[in-house]
Amino acid sequence: MNSTVIQTQQLTRDFGSLRAVDHLTLEVTGGQIFGLLGPNGAGKTTTIRLLLGLLPPTSGQVRVLGMDPLQQGEAVRSRCGALLEHAGLYERLNAEDNLDFYARIWRMDAPARKKRIQQLLEGLGLWERRKETVAEWSRGMKQKLAIARVLLHRPQLIFLDEPTAGLDVPTAAALREDLLRLVAQEGATIFLTTHNLSEAEKLCAQVAVIRQGQLLALGSPQELRARAGRPRLQIFGRGLDDHVLASLSHQPGVNGVQRFNDHLEIDLKEPTDTSALIKLLVEQGVHIEEVRKSSVSLEEAFLSMLEENHVH
């Protein structure tokens, strides 16, 4: 599925004097994981609520799976699955009853319900514990169950609002793996919000960065990294003195040089052949132990975008 599944045009939502989403224009192509990144309070959750037709926009247009979520809410929500800010599980009920309730809502008949619940719970390693009350479970297990609930009716489009928030590192990593595997099996489009940049980098084909409801950037994680920062060269060794620093900073292609405790960091104007710089250092008597070429991480790119936007 490569058609557009989500399209927003100048989407805006106000809560009194607070503008939560501000003229947001987005397009999400089907069959991929799309990440909406932003700090807390950036308008990510409100955007999901608008896309699901849970809230009417103040202005602007939304199309989800080719439909207006406000006018055709039931049809849109029938084809979508959503894991919102909270897992939304009935903690007094057991895992099987939680899934059975939603399977009934999705109008699945009894044999289909039973089969699908077993398939999902087995896939997530929860089948043996299906009769336990959810309240007794850990947060990681609850998140897994919530994801099973989202996938029950094989939705075309899945909304995941901070799915790994509050989980410890190994649990979050395991959940991400489960998510990728299940999504590959189910072939759905995922609209994911997160403020975990490494998560977005691992999972998303496309990301949008928002702040105070405004779109700051849109593209693949690689594009965003490239847009936000130039490549860098790190030199570890002995003899990295002021004289070396001065001669490096006058070289073409070098944007700036900074000395740290044990290394020099050279900001390059663009990806370039760095052999000339290494040769110069060797000629100046530097004993090079290690050379590292690095680019800006998505996290650094994200922070620089936020900073830039803040300054403007």
Partner: protein
């Protein structure tokens, strides 16, 4: 829509029975209620239980009380536990969710009332053997319909109160005040009236044109129920329920 309402009702009942941690304790509290109204109270009142309509009318507040906790828990409580938004993100129409929640409370309370009345008749016939007796059919039917409509009325009020409360506890406290003012205090006053006034009231009730009185009461209750339900349907909309 009907299937959706039934799905919600069955979930609400499951949650209610499991509220004390296990199905067994949930069933036990229901049996206590039926035992109180179907065995203890009839034994206390003897054959009067079958003959005096005022007695069963007074005690019909007990099942109505159940609707208060059920409705507040299923709306304010569900919002507090963050499950309402997930439910609203499903395909279910708001009306199906609302009717399911009201229906779960009303039919549970009404079912307890019906079971208690029937058990009460059995208790009286077994404990005070004489010629087999039952309630006056008109009184029996009237109390059941009255109980159904009153439960519906309090459930609808419960929905509106829950929508304006932050927590289930707050909603329940507000509802308890409403219940005290509208139901408990008037019934308590009747209970403590001098014996001769009570006898007079009972006699008047028996000599009343029951048909006319019941019809008038039912019309008033039905009108109030319909009006409140419309207000609830209007307020129970996704756009009102989801905040910042």
């Amino acid at each position: 829509m009907f299937t959706d309402v039934l799905t919600i009702i069955s979930k609400e009942w499951k949650e209610m029975f499991m509220a004390r941690g296990s199905l067994r304790s949930g069933l036990f509290s229901m049996l206590i209620m039926v035992g109180l109204l179907g065995i203890f109270m009839p034994l206390q009142n003897g054959r009067d239980w079958l003959n005096n309509p005022l007695l069963i009318l007074i005690w019909s507040w007990v099942p109505v009380l159940i609707t208060l906790s059920m409705v507040t828990d299923s709306i304010a409580g569900e919002r507090e536990r963050h499950t309402l938004e997930t439910l609203l993100a499903s395909r279910l129409p708001e009306a199906a969710i609302l009717l399911g929640k009201i229906g779960a409370a009303v039919f549970y309370a009404w079912g307890i009332m019906l079971a208690s009345l029937l058990l009460g008749a059995v208790t009286i016939n077994l404990a005070f053997p004489a010629s087999p007796a039952f309630y006056d059919l008109q009184v029996f039917g009237g109390v059941l319909v009255f109980s159904l409509l009153t439960s519906w009325l309090f459930s609808s009020i419960g929905v509106l109160v829950s929508l304006h409360s932050k927590t289930a506890r707050q909603a329940y406290q507000k509802m308890s005040v409403v219940f005290l003012l509208l139901w408990f205090i008037p019934m308590l006053v009747i209970q403590f009236l001098p014996q001769e006034i009570k006898a007079g009231l009972s006699a008047r009730l028996m000599t009343l044109d029951l048909n006319a009185a019941l019809t008038l009461g039912l019309v008033i209750l039905l009108t109030a129920d319909a009006a409140l339900l419309l207000v609830c349907l209007n307020r129970f909309q996704r756009r009102h329920l989801i905040g910042l």
